[in-house]
Amino acid sequence: MPAFAAPLDRAILAGALCGDGAAQVGAAEGLVRAGGDLPADDLAYAGRLLGALVERRLACLPDGALLLAGQNAPEGQDAVTDARRPAAEARAPVLGLRQRAAVETARGVVALLTEGTPAARAAGLAVLERRITIVPAAVLDRARDAESDAALKGTIASLAEAAALSSPDPVRRRAAIAAVAASPSGAAAARLDALKSDPAYRADPAFRVALDAGLAQVRRAVAIGDGLAIVYNGLSFASILFMAAAGLAIIFGLMGVINLAQGEFIMLGAYTTYGVQEAFRRFVPGLLDLYLVAAVPVAFLAVALVGIGVEALVLRHLYRRPLMSLLATWAVSLFLVNLVRVTVGTQNLQFSMPAYVSGGVPVYADFVMTWNRLFAIGFAVATLFLTLLILRRTPLGLDIRAVTQNRDMAACLGLPTRRIDRLAFGLGSGLAGLAGVALCPIYSVNPGMGSGFIVDSFMVVVLGGVGSLIGTLVAAVAVGGANVLIEPISGAVAAKVIVLVGIILFLQRRPKGLFAVRRRR
């Protein structure tokens, strides 16, 4: 494409980016092809135009293009002459998917070749890595030669090596296979697999050996990566189940109260987190990223207080009537849902997600560790340890265990069982509040979010053995793991059914669950 050979004709580039879809793709692909030769200031100029196009700040007029300061700005700078012109009649093109991909690649080339910081150049390289087959060798060579950061230089070099898969030189080709195999993924496997139909595979034994070895290596790595992903998915689902069920294990175990409002306590925890976020936004906007951490004690205390209130106002009167307490907690749950619906509204809440809970990092092969799930896993582990610490090492924990094992005897020995009930209910509700904090980065937060948890958490508590925290943990891991293992084979709907049937069969054999607490009644 001669228009994009050095030096760049800026008017033609601006015109093409304002043209139809084909012209836009042509311009972006032309830039990628010419990227190795264009002078740096031309590349930077093209980068500005492409950036504006993606952000819909490129306004097109019949006789040129304008760069706007923001979307729908009333006037902008002419892309070629820099003169200020009104943008009233201009049209800001929307990128289609094909155009978007081409423009992204071109921006990657520009970033890799012109950005000032190694991090920005690495981001550009990451974009190119996804579409390595269309990036010309000249671009990578130029980037490698100009690169000052040693680590990035190494990455570019290995990428350049891998790009030579269809090179005519058999030695470079074999090196390319090894380089592709060195960063395994499903896409790498597909690329190598495609080479099997290459004539060289039959003609050149050295090539065949290299390709087979590379392919085997990639496939092994992908299998391991998939295995890791299954373990991670299982753990993350288990951590959510555990967080939702931990509070219930204490409440149900201690008082035999079937608390159907537990899901709504989780919802309240999430809404408290939202309140903390809004407070941060208002008073300390600089520390906004820390609101999730600050929400931990607030949500715990707030929901614990709600729980204590419910216990004092409603449940206290119903201890000898378990069915009535079940109905009463259901009423509490309906009340809480509608209270939130009326006061806050039904929409999903808007959370600003700090960097430590958004996105993910590729760990090995196709296995991506997502931060929000890791946050939930870490949160669940911390909750487990703290709860165990409270139950095993504090006077309150001692009292709770004593009442759980034999309420009448504990009362005879002078323990204030009513007060302990109340504190335990508060602890159990507070744990639900913590679950709400952990779920904010993962699920949508709305008034109805709690109802989805109640069945799962009862399943986990009953399977684990009533009143045993360790049992709850093991049951959560078992249910989470079973779901994740069965889902790819028979689908998510059947997975739920199979797990439920499995639990029923298990409870037929062991009605007291996995870890039965011995108690005297």
Binding site: L97, E104, I230, R341, T346, G359, S444, G448
Partner: protein, 408 residues
């Protein structure tokens, strides 16, 4: 303690609930229209808006002097997202309140539950959602598009050179009638184009499912296999939509890698999401808020003013397709009633032939009289950074709707 039987409990509950179900507004000798949209339960956030839009349209018509010399009175109700309750409230509205027409339902399952009621009572139900088609009742006006004129153009676009040249398809849906029927028709369509069965996968999840890790893993590995560009056809509904999008973005998959065509995705589903990583994913409707033209500008302005004046508990600057469709249905009904010079259902139905209405989308809605389907334009929207959709493509005119799909 008195003996509480199940029967007396149900009876008492029904008595308590009955007065709350229907809330008339006051006017002298008006003609009544009934709304069947939930303002509580899972659908409240979406359906709740439609009650207000119907009232707004009625206010407009009343401001011009009403229909056939009579003012319109809108009755709202709350079927509480409980599908059988839609039928019960609908029957009450038709038999006791003698409404001239019903406007209602979002999910296909609620429409299916009201269908026998409007057929038995020869009522008229205006249904504002795009849906799976394969139904043609003389008592239902299908205001929005069947798959042949909404889903297929979008899939065609993605398969064509302007889109991404999609060759392989991963279908993910909630497990009920709408996703299953849509996917069945899509498979038939692809078969007719000679695409082999190995090129698609179909997965269903329970209602309210949110643990999408494994499915997104599967999408990624499906996309990395050879055979051409893969896309996701997403027919999950409700809170599953944002949960799926969030997991998709977190695993680092972008629209340029694997685009999602979200068939039930509206602006309200993007609330609470960081859409910077979701830019480029697609939906398709008969109206998008970003539609160009004076009529849309006026509608958006009217809605914002209405929200402010009546203190409506919904966003003043979010307008979704079903809102516009509900608005259109009131106007179409008024046009038909005026043309018939009567409010009787058979005469109004007769008057549907060759009716047309210029709606906010910029297209002219038309009805043929052949059936109760309405010709609408087609928009394909692309998610932008601001939790909205840009218009990526729109049809040249409003295609004639095809009620029954030839593809399955």
């Amino acid at each position: 303690m008195t003996h509480l039987t199940r029967r007396s409990f149900v009876g008492a509950a029904a008595l308590l609930a009955a007065p709350a179900l229907i809330r008339p507004s006051l006017a002298a000798d008006p003609v009544k229209l009934g709304c069947l949209f939930s303002s509580s339960g899972t659908m409240a956030n979406l359906e709740g808006r439609l009650n207000h839009v119907v009232r707004m349209a009625a206010d407009e018509i009343n401001g011009r002097g009403g229909v056939n010399g009579r003012q319109i009175e809108v009755l709202t109700s709350d079927p509480a997202s409980d599908w059988p309750l839609y039928a019960q409230v609908g029957r009450q509205m038709l038999q006791q309140e003698k409404v001239a027409a019903l406007f209602g339902c979002w999910t296909s399952v609620s429409r299916k539950s009201v269908l026998p009621v409007v057929e038995q009572n020869d009522g008229l139900l205006f249904y504002p959602l795009h849906f799976e088609g394969d139904e043609n009742s003389k008592n239902v006006v299908y205001m929005n598009s069947p798959p042949a004129s909404s889903v297929l153009p979008a899939v065609d676009y993605l398969m064509g050179p302007e889109g991404v040249g999609a060759k392989r398809f991963f279908m993910i849906g909630s497990d009920y009638v709408w996703p299953r029927t849509i996917n069945k028709q899509l498979k038939g369509y692809w078969k007719s184009k000679g695409i082999p069965e190995t090129a698609w996968r179909e997965e269903y999840v329970p209602f309210g499912f949110s643990n999408f890790q494994t499915l997104v893993n599967q999408v990624r590995s499906f996309a990395s296999q050879p055979g051409g560009q893969a896309i996701v056809v997403l027919t999950v509904v409700g809170s599953s939509i944002p949960d799926f999008l969030r997991e998709f973005a977190n695993q680092g998959v972008t629209a340029t890698d694997v685009p999602i065509l979200g068939l039930d995705m509206v602006e309200a589903d993007l609330e609470g999401l960081d859409t910077a990583k979701l830019v480029g994913h697609l939906n398709c409707w008969a109206y998008l808020q970003a539609a160009k033209g004076e009529r849309n500008k006026k509608f958006l302005g009217d809605w914002a003013a209405y929200v402010k004046a009546k203190n409506v508990p919904f966003s003043a600057d979010t307008v979704i397709d079903p809102m516009v469709s509900a608005y259109d249905s009131v106007h179409l009904w008024a046009l038909a009633a005026a043309k018939a010079g009567s409010f009787a259902v058979p005469e109004v139905r007769q008057a549907f032939a060759n009716l047309s209405f210029d709606d906010p989308s910029g297209y002219t809605l038309t009805m043929t009289g052949e059936n109760n389907y309405v010709s609408r334009g087609v928009f394909i929207g692309s998610v932008n950074e601001k939790r909205g959709f840009d218009v990526l493509w729109q049809s040249a005119d409003a295609p004639k709707p095809v009620p029954f799909s030839p593809y399955g």
